[in-house]
Structure formats: structure tokens, C-alpha cells
């Protein structure tokens, strides 16, 4: 297991929706044994160096591109929403879906290590949702998203929101096939988050400062946060809002409508 967050071997414990798949991981193990005895065969003698020069993310990147093409054919705007745990992803997504209303129909794929609490919160609001519980894995990958998307009626949707596992490190490396990566920074978290987690903030197309109704209570230094965001996420579009009060939501929703029109 990895030391920082307990992330495990990809896929083994992943469960999607209401179904429990028992994915057996046979690969790799049967090989290696049984072949040892042929060591003296003509074809397997001596040391050799095989040059690869390939990305370790290659398999995920290919699956992500496949997802992207599929989603585009379905005319879906796809968002990958990432943040620390507790930045308000679920409330932000719920309010986005509710305020878009019949204008744009939103479906959600939610990733968490365990529980379907977030999915239940969204389902209660009438939003089509599929939960992925990743077990020990600290991020969603393109394959999990592909399998989860199959459980939504995508033809009835205009926007697919993927709520990633709350984690500002690992999800940065995994393209899911999204159109936009949306990173949230809540006013209660500290203005230096972008500096502490630059790969994630740098990879985002959109940065959203959330819970801005609590800014003064939290002693939030807006100028400093914006300066830090502009330094690391310099190409990202920035929104400041409170999903709870609705303050600033209009600009974000208008942006989504405009982005959806371009799909």
C-alpha cells in the first residue's frame, strides 16, 4: 500500500452502482511459474534490454480518449470535479443541477472510497447518479468512469458531472475523458492550497472558490487566494460563489450553458 493515502492496487475492490462485481485479478500470477523450467530453451537465453519509452499512463490515456469520443457523440458536456475532502463538491454539484433545471439535464458519477452517502444526497434531489466506491484506490480512472457511465441513461442527459474522490494529489494524473477539469477551493481551506498542490491546480481548466458566504468568518484573504490561483492555474477560468446562498452561481451556470453549446 502506498504510504500517503493507503491507495491500493487499481480496480480490485472497486464497486459501481448497486451491483457488487467480484473482479478477480488473475493476470500476471499464472505466468512466470511453469516457464522457469524452460530457462535453457534457445529462445530465452541471456540478458537482453528491451527499449520501451512509453508513458505509464498510456492505458488510462487511451481509455480516456475513448470516453471523450463517446461522450462527444452523445453531445454531453463532461466535468471532472476535484478538490480536498470537504470543499463542498456534492453541494456544489447538487445546486448546479437544481439551478440548471430543465434547461440542461445533469447526471452524476460519484467516487468515494466507501459509502454511497454522496450519491444518496444527490438522488434525494432527483438527480440521476451512479456511485463508484473505490475501496482503497485514491482516485477515479477512465475505466471506472466508462463502466459507471453505462449505468446512466446518457441520452437523457446534457451534462455529466464526475465527482472525483476528495484528494488533491492522485486524481491530477488521471484523465477521465472530461471536457473540463473543475477544481474547488473553499474559503475555509487556506489561500495557499494552489501552492501546496500545484499539479492539480495547474491541470484544472476551471477553478471555483466555494463557500464564499463564509469568507469573513474564516478570515479568508481573497486577494492572496486569487494571486495564488493565478500563479499556478494561470490559464484557468475562475469563479467565486456560494452554492448554499446562490451568490455567484449565475456566472457559473451561464458558463456551463455556453460550454455545452460548443460540444
Amino acid at each position: 500500500m502506498c504510504q500517503e493515502c493507503g491507495c491500493g492496487n487499481g480496480g480490485g475492490d472497486v464497486k459501481i452502482g448497486a451491483h457488487v462485481h467480484g473482479h478477480e485479478h488473475h493476470h500476471g500470477h499464472e505466468h512466470g511459474h511453469g516457464h522457469h523450467d524452460h530457462g535453457d530453451h534457445g529462445h530465452a537465453h541471456g540478458k537482453q534490454t528491451v527499449s520501451l519509452n512509453r508513458s505509464l499512463m498510456e492505458k488510462n490515456s487511451l481509455l480516456a480518449e475513448r470516453n471523450r469520443g463517446f461522450f462527444k457523440a452523445k453531445k454531453l458536456l463532461v466535468l471532472n470535479v476535484v478538490s480536498s475532502p470537504g470543499s463542498g463538491k456534492t453541494t456544489f454539484i447538487r445546486e448546479t443541477a437544481a439551478r440548471l433545471g430543465a434547461n440542461l439535464r445533469v447526471g452524476v458519477i460519484v467516487g468515494d472510497l466507501a459509502t454511497d452517502n454522496d450519491a444518496a444526497r444527490l438522488r434525494t434531489a432527483g438527480i440521476p447518479v451512479v456511485q463508484i466506491t473505490t475501496g482503497t484506490v485514491c482516485h477515479l480512472d477512465a475505466d471506472m468512469v466508462s463502466r459507471a457511465a453505462g449505468q446512466l441513461d446518457l441520452d437523457q442527459l446534457d451534462v455529466l458531472v464526475i465527482e472525483n474522490v476528495g484528494n488533491l494529489v492522485c486524481p491530477a494524473d488521471y484523465d477521465l475523458g472530461e471536457d473540463l477539469r473543475v477544481v474547488l477551493l473553499s474559503v475555509t481551506e487556506g489561500e495557499d492550497k494552489p501552492l501546496k498542490y500545484p499539479p492539480m491546480f495547474h491541470s484544472a481548466n476551471v477553478a471555483v472558490i466555494t463557500k464564499n458566504d463564509m469568507a469573513s468568518a474564516a478570515g479568508f484573504n481573497r486577494e492572496l487566494a486569487l494571486a495564488n490561483l493565478n500563479r499556478v492555474s494561470h490559464h484557468a477560468q475562475i469563479f467565486e460563489l456560494s452554492a448554499k446562498t446562490g451568490n455567484g452561481m449565475k456566472a457559473w451556470l451561464d458558463f456551463l450553458v455556453q460550454q455545452r453549446a460548443q460540444v
Binding site: 500500500m1 502506498c2 504510504q3 500517503e4 493515502c5 491507495c7 491500493g8 492496487n9 487499481g10 493476470h27 500476471g28 500470477h29 505466468h31 512466470g32 516457464h35 522457469h36 524452460h38 530457462g39 529462445h43 530465452a44 537465453h45 541471456g46 540478458k47 537482453q48 534490454t49 528491451v50 527499449s51 520501451l52 519509452n53 512509453r54 508513458s55 505509464l56 499512463m57 492505458k59 484506490v137 485514491c138 482516485h139 480512472d141 494529489v169 492522485c170 491530477a172 494524473d173 488521471y174 501552492l195 500545484p198 499539479p199 495547474h202 500563479r231 499556478v232 494561470h234 490559464h235
Partner: protein, 113 residues
């Protein structure tokens, strides 16, 4: 961090390459890891030992080539080493966000027998 997932993928690619080459053992993997890849080399080593256990790569060694991140300065038409994604060129002090190297997560080659 997700070093175990990444190492699992590296091992899969190494074993596929070894089998294609008609080999039965993986002796050594060489990875290229950028300083801004978000992956910690020490954790990769730890994950490597775990994922190789019981495979044709059991006992193999891991070599990690660290790649220093570099930005491109448009003014100087040259690269400069950098510590994050947005840096000042040490020559002309213009700011550049054009990263040329440093995000590598690659398998360079694999030694088999």
C-alpha cells in the same frame, strides 16, 4: 499517492515486453520520473517490491531516472530549470508557464533474461 497503481502498470508493461522477447524473467526496470510528476521515487521503490512479489519480476531491481523540470523562455529562446509550473526566467526575469519537461511518468526500458 497512487504509486502502487502506477507501479502495477509499469510491471504489466515490463512483463508483456519480456514475454514478447521470449524471456522468462524480468531483471531490471528503468523508469523516467519528472520532478513535477507528483510521484515520490521512494514510494515507487516501496510499491515495486510489493507488486513484483510472486511474479516473473520477483527480485528485479528498479532504476529511477529523475528528470528535472524545465520551463521554456520565449524571450531567451532557451530552457531554464524550475521548481513549479510558473517561474521567472533567471536571465531575463520574464515569467513563463510553458513547461517543457518535468511531468514524465515513463518506462524507459526493461532488462530480461
Amino acid at each position: 499517492m497512487h504509486e502502487v497503481s502506477i507501479m502495477t502498470e509499469a510491471l504489466r508493461m515490463a512483463m508483456d515486453a519480456a514475454k514478447s522477447a521470449g524471456s522468462t524473467r524480468v531483471l531490471k526496470l528503468r523508469l523516467r520520473i519528472g520532478s513535477l510528476s507528483g510521484v515520490v521515487p521512494e514510494s515507487l521503490q516501496f510499491a515495486f517490491d510489493v507488486v513484483c512479489h510472486g511474479t516473473m519480476a520477483e527480485g528485479a531491481s528498479l532504476e529511477i531516472e529523475a528528470v528535472q523540470a524545465a520551463c521554456w523562455c520565449e524571450t531567451c529562446q532557451a530552457e531554464f530549470d524550475c521548481v513549479d509550473f510558473f517561474n521567472e526566467c533567471p536571465r531575463c526575469h520574464n515569467v513563463s508557464g510553458e513547461l517543457r519537461r518535468g511531468r514524465e511518468l515513463e518506462i524507459a526500458d526493461v532488462e530480461t533474461s
